[in-house]
């Protein structure tokens, strides 16, 4: 018997009382937890900002797409950064003209490691946990580009922000088999005496540009 056959046989032998059809049983699982809320957009956004700030995330709110480039420049100037990495095909009008732009055209890891700042969009966000969903590819970039640089600037549209996790997860389900990363604040550790340290291996700082 192969290991597969043997393990499956052990399982079947152990589960002597077989329940009915799995799909049916799965559908019947009681889900009385909050799956949608009645929060309005204003409340949701307030909560999202509160959570982001709690994770030491910089938040810049802009009224329209035309202000994105200015917000990017503002965040980078503050952090004293001068060069920006963006996924290939990223809309030019969102990038400040005053800053040197590198587009990720399959750049090597070593090249990417030298980059300080990266910009992407996102797929969805969760207010109650301050979480951003990246479904990788397109303007959300390959996984590696938001990993090696130190500072990640992410454009989030207000319409992409859901109040609770189940809503956001439902919004990305259609893309579930693409690589997905959820990001809640900068990388962190509490492994040394439970002192929270921001910035371990992933980006040390995160900026969210919240667009109306």
């Amino acid at each position: 018997m192969t290991a597969r056959e043997e393990i499956l046989a052990r399982i079947q032998g152990a589960l002597h009382v077989r329940a009915s059809d799995p799909a049916n049983g799965h559908g019947k699982i009681e889900r009385t937890y909050t799956r949608t809320t009645s929060m309005n957009e204003h409340e949701t956004i307030e909560l999202f900002i509160d959570r982001l700030v709690d994770y030491d995330t910089e938040v810049i709110q802009v009224a329209s797409d035309s202000e994105i480039a200015g917000a990017v420049a503002q965040s980078m100037t503050k952090a004293q950064e001068t060069a920006l990495l963006a996924p290939a095909g990223f809309p030019q009008e969102w990038l400040p003209t005053s800053i040197a732009i590198t587009l990720d055209e399959n750049l090597s890891h070593v090249t990417l490691d030298a980059e300080k700042t990266v910009i992407t969009t996102c797929e969805a966000a969760v207010a109650s946990t301050g979480t951003i969903f990246l479904v990788h590819g397109g303007t959300q970039g390959r996984r590696v580009i938001t990993l090696l640089p130190d500072h990640h600037i992410c454009i989030v549209r207000r319409s992409q922000v859901y109040s609770v996790l189940p809503e956001a997860l439902a919004a990305v389900t259609a893309n579930a088999t693409k690589p997905i990363t959820t990001i809640s604040g900068p990388s962190a550790t509490s492994d040394i005496e439970m002192v929270r340290i921001r910035g371990v291996h992933g980006p040390r700082s995160l900026t969210v540009i919240l667009v109306s």
């Binding site: 399982i11 997860l169 579930a176 492994d191």
Partner: protein, 498 residues
């Protein structure tokens, strides 16, 4: 078959190891501080969730449902993962899983390479369970742990003492000394910021140069074939993204039916594990994605004793565990002894039920007793595993198995318990024995307390005082009371008057 749980087979019994741990004041202080911090943070984050109980119930229901159809969901996961370009291997036990991993690493190492083969690893308790690092090292492969705490444990040649914060028994100066010795940084301070920065620098070059990674998984999702890794530091993302080859070791109980089920676990796991609303990163991927991440992806599905737990419904509950460690942080025994006393990489309440069951009670026989049965573990468990109930069930099994051996049959404890059973079965014998004990205890009574009983009872009174049996027992009083007949009504009115 070689079902192994870390080095549990060689570990001393819990009471012996615990004794040693209790003498180490530094360790106790470190464990207490860390567990208190996480407990408080957890309580805060759970309190703000009005639907917490519903989430717990749903988590338990999803896991129970999955386990009842485990073969179905595993096969569904395999189909979907392989359709997306992953390759799934099955391992009956620790040795088989290790040799699959070693063969894969060999296959992907250029034949002409003379440098030692390195693999980067991201936090996987399952790989500690099968002692993968030792197996790799024996083959000349160098495993590099990348989680900060795992790295502290590995560089310090130590053992993990907690399933989420494996180095919580070390304080900052101990960590600084370990790093100074192994990173050639004699100037390193003991500030957590500096220590973290040193780890970042040390690992960044290794992340960039290493071609093969080994990871664990928090969830394997049947309906999409995806795998999910939950983490904080970004070392997970590094290992899952940068190498060319990724080998993911998954216990068969980690499968969940659907992508949507994450809506429960991604809410309960971070809050229970670290007291965060959400951990910084979750990575989800399905097979291989051209142009993004490792182009060779292998999954090893591990049994190693798990299928045996399916048979009995109470034991099966153990497999619901999502390894959040909330039960460790809540446990009054763990909080005193730390993890090492359990002699298994799975410590605390979950370790006390998991390790002995995986190894069919061959080892870790003392672990079902490493608990006060206070129930704190059950209360915090996000998938509602009734650990105290399983512990009692296992104690029963230990006793029954002991009774089968001659040594066990003639053991003092067994004889005492059998005698007790005979006494408790008869009213007359029970009263007679009480009268006898009342006389017998006179010799040991000091200032109205029993402080130094002989024989086996001495173990109890070594650390606790016992009240003597009163001269007038409840039963005596009951018999001698003035024939007043009791009725629920009169009893209630009495209660009200008081």
């Amino acid at each position: 078959m070689s079902i192994r749980v870390g080095k549990a087979a060689k570990a001393p019994a819990f009471p012996i190891a615990a004794h040693k741990a209790l003498e180490n004041n530094q360790l106790r202080a470190n464990v207490r501080r860390a567990t208190t911090t996480i407990r408080n943070k957890r309580a805060l984050r759970v309190e703000e969730m009005p639907d917490w109980e519903s989430l717990r119930s749903a988590g338990a229901a999803i896991k129970q449902h999955t386990l009842a159809h485990l073969d179905h969901y595993l096969e569904e996961f395999v189909r979907n993962c392989e359709r997306a370009g992953g390759k799934v291997h099955w391992a009956r036990d620790a040795d088989e899983a290790n040799s699959i991993a070693i063969n894969l690493i060999r296959t992907y190492t250029p034949k002409d390479s003379t440098a030692p083969v390195e693999v980067i690893k991201v936090k996987t308790m399952t790989s500690d369970e099968i002692q993968m690092n030792h197996a790799l090292e024996r083959e000349g492969i160098v495993p590099i742990e990348t989680d900060l705490a795992d790295m502290i444990v590995q560089l310090g040649k130590d053992e993990p003492s907690h399933i989420v914060v494996p180095a919580l028994h070390k304080n900052r100066t101990e960590i600084r000394d370990i790093f100074r010795a192994s990173m050639a940084q004699p100037e390193l301070t003991d500030q957590p910021e500096d220590l973290t920065a040193a780890a970042r620098k040390y690992l960044r070059e290794r992340f960039l140069r290493t071609k093969i990674a080994v990871s664990g998984a928090n969830f394997a999702i049947a309906d999409t074939g995806s795998v999910c890794v939950v983490e904080s530091e970004g070392n997970g993302r590094m290992c899952l993204t940068l190498p060319e080859v990724l080998i993911t070791l998954v216990g068969i109980e980690k499968v969940i039916p659907s992508f949507g089920d994450l809506e429960v676990f991604l809410q309960t796991l971070p809050r229970s594990a670290t007291g965060e609303r959400m951990n910084p990163y979750n990575s989800l991927w399905t097979g291989v994605t051209p142009g993004d991440g490792p182009q060779h992806f292998h999954v090893i599905l591990l049994d190693n004793g798990r299928t045996k737990l399916l048979e009995d419904e109470m034991e099966r509950e153990t497999l619901q565990c999502i390894r959040c460690a909330a039960c460790l942080n809540a446990c009054p025994v763990y909080r005193e002894t730390g993890g090492h006393a359990y002699g298994s990489i799975y410590s605390g309440p979950i370790g006390a039920i998991l390790s002995p069951q995986l190894q069919s009670l061959e080892h870790s026989r003392s672990l079902p007793y490493a608990s006060t049965l206070c129930g704190a573990c059950y209360e915090v468990c996000p998938v509602k595993i009734n650990i105290p109930e399983v512990l009692i069930h296992l104690r029963g099994r230990v006793v029954r198995e002991d009774q089968k051996t001659l040594k066990g049959k003639l053991g003092v404890e067994n004889i005492a318990m059998q005698a007790a059973a005979t006494i408790f079965r008869s009213e007359r014998r029970y009263e007679a024995s009480q009268r006898l004990a009342r006389i017998g205890q006179l010799a040991f009574e000091r200032k109205g307390l029993l402080t130094n009983l002989p024989g086996m009872a001495g173990g109890w009174t070594a650390t606790r005082d016992l009240k003597p049996i009163p001269s007038h027992s409840f039963r005596d009083w009951w018999k001698s009371r003035n024939n007043t007949t009791w009725s629920p009504k009169s009893n209630m009115s009495q209660g009200g008057a008081n």
